[in-house]
Symmetry: C2
Subunit: 407 residues, 2 copies
């Protein structure tokens, strides 16, 4: 055998039984070339949303343990069907749930983290000549409860498997050709990137480019696992995510994104005492809420407004926590704004070039787009704008940085 290839098929790549047969053919074609195959599958197309809808009919706030019990069935259906499809093609396949394959996570239901993984059962199956199919998105905590890894968690399953199995490559199959300089549905001149660094991809993923889960890219970076993001509908090369190369630095900006999945929360008129911000964000972190941008306005009259953004899906949880905190610290109340989008530019070139921020703000100003909040990292600049301005902003920035031109 030539080594192990890990492939991950996302929901759109297995959205119906025809697509599942399609995926099975691709898996078998690799197998014929002499690779040991380990395949991670997401839930069929809309299954996850349908299951969420079922739970909503019962309660607005389902217990998270039971939500994981419910949602993990989606991937279990996919692995069984894909294994059947591979058998149909005359090859031996065996499917495993997260529990069966020994994916151990922490107890943080609905967004658990993998803390360990056994590869024994997979290796035994590979040795017997079987193609191994693993349910993405799920694991089991140490109390033997089923957990899920959060949206996009199947990517994490694939990368973690690629790591423990020392796979040659981890292929991420999706319904787009690869990673683009901007969302092609928004920017007509958007261009597919042949290569991108882990760091850039990490920022893009965190910023709402929904190609791959951010945490899984971190892990791929840490263990230097080559990722190939490509389409399950064509044979074309996609985008390789790899270590940063010298050449990449010539490129100022790799991509521009808009994330509409966040909301802005403002705790108003917080007494300006040392330690209060720490107390507030510790409490929020304990409730397992991911805070993204944080802005503290300049204090006047001993009080200050504290704003931060959170995923809209966490808003119900945030509401409870934030309002309790607001009372506790003697603030004047909490305000919410769901009408926001976070527009960002990403590029390792920023490290060595200045003026990227000024250029970005200039592009927005020319289109009369107001900036609400700003945050920056070494290779990223994000601005919060009105949701309705998101497309206009992305187009203006894409043009300003001439991202459509191959460099």
């Amino acid at each position: 055998m030539k080594g192990i290839v890990v492939q991950k098929y996302g929901g759109t790549s297995v959205k119906d039984t025809r697509r599942i047969m399609n995926a099975a053919c691709r898996v078998v074609s690799y197998r014929k070339k002499g690779y040991d195959m380990v395949v991670v599958v997401s839930a069929l197309g809309d299954t996850t949303d349908e299951l969420i809808e079922l739970s909503r009919q019962i309660t607005e706030e389902p217990v998270e343990r039971e939500m994981d019990m419910l949602l993990s069935t989606g991937e279990q259906i996919s692995i069984a069907l894909l294994a059947m499809a591979i058998h149909k093609l005359g090859y031996d396949a065996i499917s495993f749930t997260g529990t069966q394959v020994g994916i151990v996570t922490d107890t943080s239901h609905t967004k658990a983290r993998i803390i360990g993984m056994s590869s024994d059962r997979i290796k035994r199956a590979l040795k017997k000549g079987k193609i191994v199919i693993v349910a993405g998105f799920q694991g089991q905590n140490q109390e033997q409860d089923i957990t899920t890894l959060g949206r996009g968690g199947s990517d994490m399953t694939a990368v973690a498997l690629a790591k423990v199995l020392r796979a040659k490559v981890c292929e991420i199959y999706t319904d787009v050709d690869g990673v683009y300089t901007a969302d092609p549905r928004v920017v007509s001149g958007a261009r597919k990137l042949d290569k991108i660094s882990y760091d850039e991809m990490l920022e893009l993923a965190s910023l709402g480019a929904q190609v791959m889960q951010a945490r899984s890219i971190e892990v791929a970076k840490k263990f230097n696992i080559p990722i190939h993001v490509r389409s399950s509908l064509s044979g074309k090369e996609g985008t390789w995510i790899t270590k940063e190369e010298r050449k990449m630095e010539e490129v100022l900006v790799s991509g521009v994104t808009a994330n509409k999945g966040e909301a802005k929360v403002t705790i108003c008129a917080v007494p300006d005492k040392p330690g209060l911000a720490s107390k507030i964000f510790t409490t929020i972190a304990k409730a397992d809420i991911n805070v993204d941008m944080i802005i503290q306005n300049v204090s006047r009259t001993g009080r200050t407004d504290l704003s931060f953004t959170v995923p809209t899906s966490d808003l119900a949880k945030v509401r409870r926590v934030a309002e309790a905190i607001s009372k506790k610290v003697g603030a004047k109340g909490v305000m919410y704004d769901k009408d926001i989008a976070k527009v960002s530019v990403v590029g390792v070139g920023m490290r060595s070039h200045t003026g990227v921020a000024a250029k970005m703000f200039g592009a927005l100003a020319e289109k009369k787009v107001n900036i609400g909040m700003i945050s920056t990292s070494e290779i990223k600049i994000s601005c919060v704008v009105k949701k309705s301005h998101a497309a206009k902003a992305v187009q203006a920035i894409h043009k300003k940085f001439q991202l459509g031109k191959k460099k």
Copy 2:
């Protein structure tokens, strides 16, 4: 606490989220009365059929291990939703899959038998005051593969749990009021029985009265577990299945059933040598096919026709096995007849009364219903008739034995 009650809700009792809430209310009402509750749930309404249809789109003969992987998701969805519904009502519930609860089965996929069960995890949860929800129909074999217990397998889960937990009663919730003297949709005068013996119920179940799985009644009988079959849509008492009582023997016949789920297989002109029948049925049993009635016609010219009935669902498997056997033993081929129904009368009274068969055959003759095969047991007589004659036959027999009148 007053002891443990095991309840099992069948597919129609949890066919949608409204029914699930309904089941949750019933569970909680028992809990309020002071019972420790263990609840077994089937898959939502048509889920199992939908999953089977998905697999059919891929292959006509799915690997059975993967079929179990697929089908077991149905119950997993139900337990999560029921647990959420109970939480919504303000009570603490926890759901377990067959694997989690330690239901160990043999390796016979799609119709596995329970060989062991641990009650530790359930008892721990009950001690913490939780209502325990268990996925019916499924277990795990010793290779840690998911198995399913065959159609109606949730009944087995419930009865087995009632046994290991020493439950006071095992309630089987369905969409009918209890066990009837005949199918009320076929016989207008059919009457609900207040009580029936395990043996009678066992025969009725084997004969196609789809109220409860036959194997589960065997287990209930063996361990003397009181079963209460009742409707999830009303508060009415249903039918108690218990040990045979003196009084029951006064009743000649308890019920009449028709089973349209079988087909007749005839291996033609088998050479009439000793040991051939044994060889044939050993091979069929090894293929995990349940043979029901067997008829061997009188031998002429050294050859004999061998007929038997099997569940229609096993017909594809039977075809392969029977045709191979036919060649091997030098028979003249295999014929199939799906156009049959098995009409049966059941009653412990037959033990002490004669003439039941004559009366039954008389009723059929009066209606000009031809009898194809006959088989009898101590408390049962079955006749195979044409499928189109089934309803007429059942009506005639029900009337002849005056089953509609309370005795």
